[in-house]
Amino acid sequence: MNVVNSHVLDTNTGWLILAVFSAVWVFLGWFWGRKAKQLDDFMLAGRNVGMALGIATAMATWVTSNTTMAAPQLALQLGIWGMLGYSLGSVGLMLFAPLAKRIRSLMPAGYTSGDFIRLRYGKFAWRVFLLISLFYGIGWLISLGMAGGVLIHALTGIDYRIGMSVILAICVIYTLLGGLRAVIGTDFLQTIIILIGIVILAWLVIDKVGFETMHKAVQEERPELLNLLMPAAIMFLFNNLLFGVGEIFHSNVWWSRAFAFRQGVGFKAFLLAGVFWIPIPVVAGFIALATPALGLNIPAADMVGPMVAAKLLGFGGAVLVFIIVFSALASSLDSLLAATSDLILHDIYRGHIRPQASKEELRKAARWVILLLGVITWLLCLPRLTTLASLLYFTGAFVASTIWPIIAGLYLKRASSTGASIAMLTGTVIGLWSYFAIGFYVAALVSAVTSMVIVLISMWYKPDNFEWSTLNEQAKEKVL
């Protein structure tokens, strides 16, 4: 076994690629965002996004560096089910399709997922939800920032802190310049780059190693990776499904898209994005199974993808993987920055600090919020706290607790405010307990089941009788 020198790109090449792509994204951010003078243009891209951009932005946001780096990591740790389990993340996108349609029709003037919880369940549940959602948003941002630093260090030798700072700064700048319009526009290009890139990588791995050699080496060294009955992997499968559903159902990243897509686009866009997303973790992840055949010693599991690419493909592979992950990182970082800052702006600043703020004032404050969020993320990314997948699945305990309050709240009049609040709080606490007591792969599962039981009991014991028109805040204001 030999440890490859992962710094296959010299520092100058690394800086050159970073500079070129950064300049392109920042220019496009400015170009697409220059007409976003109104709050709705900046926060929700004018609420008129079409099918092509709709599908691409849903896909690109869900193809994160966690997909391109954690999919190989999970394939290395959990084998076949690691890849397939990750693919089940697409179920969340597909299940969100009908929800997106309902959200758009119930709340044509809505801004954030927080709006829904506030109007549907009242202020206490809204605050519980905001805590969960902001914790998750920041957690995911840290995970992405860290991934950026890890990737740049692994491939170019540029210090983790410098690489992480650069990638974060680029995304903050172009999101700040163009808002959601810049995010969605760049997402389209990033999706195309990512898809073409992972196809080339996968094809070269098949060509240079081959399925037979790969399978034989894995069977000799790590046979459990090919075992369809690996218990931890099967738990991971269900956990990942629920994690994906919970993340998408609650996160303002997806709600803001439901509000931004043109009427009639949301359902098809999310459904197709889910279908197209299914194979991506398999294509990106299976290259890790080449590790035994290549005799690679992987010092950190989350570096397996870049290291296999670098070992197999040398300079070209390193450049390719660098571009893929840089695009994947940017496409998710920008979305998350925009959506989390929307939540802070609309639900914290306007909701709690300045309820009288006008749309013009909010439009100006939006840029400061993005900048502040970028700085907070940067500070939290400075110490490399944990591996990417661990951080991702820690937050699973939080987000899975919101699945049932959101589904019930959107479709059932009987769902009550008290039930939703207790479900989110208890689901999170018990999910966290299971994360530490059992393992990362059950946190979301336990949290979702706990939350579901509480929502069901509360609807039976003390049902509400919600009036749907309450959710259309703009229409209500006009009547008043």
């Binding site: 891209a45 004018g46 008129n48 996004v49 079409g50 099918m51 092509a52 951009l53 599908i55 691409a56 896909m59 076949i80 319009r181 969605i184 389209f188 999706t191 195309i192 898809l195 073409i196 992972i198 196809v199 996968a202 094809w203 098949i206 399925f211 037979e212 790969m214 399978h215 034989k216 069977q219 046979p223 090919l226 075992n227 369809l228 009955l229 043109r262 197209f276 299914i278 194979p279 991506i280 398999v282 294509v283 299976f286 199974l289």
Partner: protein, 40 residues
Amino acid sequence: MIVSSGFLSILVSIALTVTVITPVVLIILWIKDWVRGQLW
């Protein structure tokens, strides 16, 4: 229950085919939206 190399190759080949088709579909849809003035 160990999967065979045939299973692995079929699984990856299907995934790879869908991933190849996706950018083509996206570009066709983009052109369609652009022609109709419905990009955003």
